[in-house]
């Protein structure tokens, strides 16, 4: 039985947006939390820590996100852990985001001039205080535009969670399309919704970049 695309189908797509947003938010918060440690590890003076963080970043940047989701989803099942698509998508995207954010923030930490580290060290601040009160507040300013830019990537990446069966926007589109057989219309609308989510963020990122690129002092 073929239905045609109507108001109910559209509402179904719209209600799936909440899952796209929820997944994006969790992956972003989780990715940011882990990513901070990845960035700190990447800029550490302790060589094994640095190597470990570098390896972590390269592993996640060097393999497709879809494979990472597969590995988390099916890998967990193989190891006897009951992993639902929701948890697998959240975990996989968190790990992936942490690697990318870690690498972005490494650059931001290293953009803080050496003299700042030296002055803080000379004043007797140890690593935690030095990072918290001197380096990170300055790194954050540089980090905001690329981080917002990455968030756009992340929202789009959540569409891959459809493949492991998590019902977010893209998966909802597939379901509607299976019932209506109007792929151009359905996926056109899905793409438009992604655009509405992402475009303001892209604009924001560009504007922030301009603002922070302007001489601040």
């Amino acid at each position: 039985m073929i239905r045609s695309f109507g108001y109910n189908e559209f509402l179904f797509l719209l209600s799936a947006v909440q899952w796209t947003l929820a997944l994006s938010a969790i992956a972003f918060i989780g990715g940011a939390t882990v990513g901070l440690f990845v960035a700190l590890g990447r800029t550490s003076t302790i060589k094994p820590v640095r190597l470990l963080a570098t390896g972590y970043i390269q592993l996640f940047q060097g393999t497709p996100l879809l494979m990472q989701l597969f590995l988390v989803f099916f890998g967990a099942t193989v190891m006897g852990i009951d992993m639902n698509p929701w948890a697998a998508a959240a975990l996989g995207l968190t790990l992936n985001a942490s690697a990318f954010l870690g690498e972005i923030w490494r650059g931001c930490i290293q953009a803080v001039p050496r003299g700042q580290w030296e002055a803080a060290s000379a004043l007797g601040l140890r690593y935690p205080g030095l990072m918290r009160y001197v380096i990170l507040p300055q790194a954050v300013k540089v980090a905001v535009p690329p981080t917002v830019g990455f968030l756009v990537q992340l929202i789009k990446s959540t569409s891959l969670a459809a493949i492991i069966g998590f019902t977010e926007l893209t998966r909802a589109g597939q379901i509607v399309n299976n019932a209506t057989f109007q792929p151009f219309l359905v996926f056109g609308i899905v793409a438009a919704i992604y655009f509405v989510l992402c475009w303001p963020l892209s604009l924001l990122s560009a504007r922030l970049e301009q603002r922070y690129a302007a001489p601040a002092r």
Binding site: P113, G115, E118, A119, S121, L123, G124, Y133, A216, R217
Partner: protein
Amino acid sequence: MALAFDHAGDGAPRPISSEVVIRMDGVQKWYDSFQVLKNINLEVHKGERIVICGPSGSGKSTLIRCINQLEKHQQGTITVNGITLDSHHRHLDQVRREVGMVFQQFNLFPHLTVLQNCMLAPMKVRGTSKAEAEAIAMKYLERVRIPDQAHKHPGQLSGGQQQRVAIARSLCMNPKVMLFDEPTSALDPEMVKEVLDTMIGLAEDGMTMLCVTHEMGFAKSVADRVIFMDRGEIVEEASPAEFFTNPKSERTRNFLGQILSH
């Protein structure tokens, strides 16, 4: 406290305490195969003002940066205020708390106000209360004569003002020794004096000071001892009177010839 007498300057000799604040013993440092510091032996007494000069690349910055371990030395011992710098973090922390440093590029924290710059270390390193840290900060900002700039950010200040804030920021930790690495070299000429005057004020208050500087006027009038470095070695060490009128080594004479002819 026993008092010894240093070399006679051109005026009356200044009594120098026998208490040693910094002792460097056979200090050596390499960058890979390049030796930057060669067998450095140096004693700095309490209240002493030492000027270090020498050609570019001679290791002046490296020497003073070893004292608070911004650079690590590979051989020899450095003792500050009775604490020997070794691999113990605790010792390093203790030393850094007692040693202030002023950099050529000021290195103020741009995201903090002048006042916050001065309050940060007392609060986070010494655990001073906020109210007390603020009182200390204002005291030293007054001393470097910029209390009215306390709520501005460093970027809104002139170079000379920034360097005076940097000095105040160090003083807030109540250091036993102050290290200066070419504190006036990045300044426009008209701002050099205000910073030198601040340093002279510090010297008059009895601060132990090690200054890398090419301000020979400052060396003549303030230093108890001038140290001349070349290629990683201390080549000559003398009172300013001796150093400028009767340098012993050829290298010192060449250096002075160059620097004083400008």
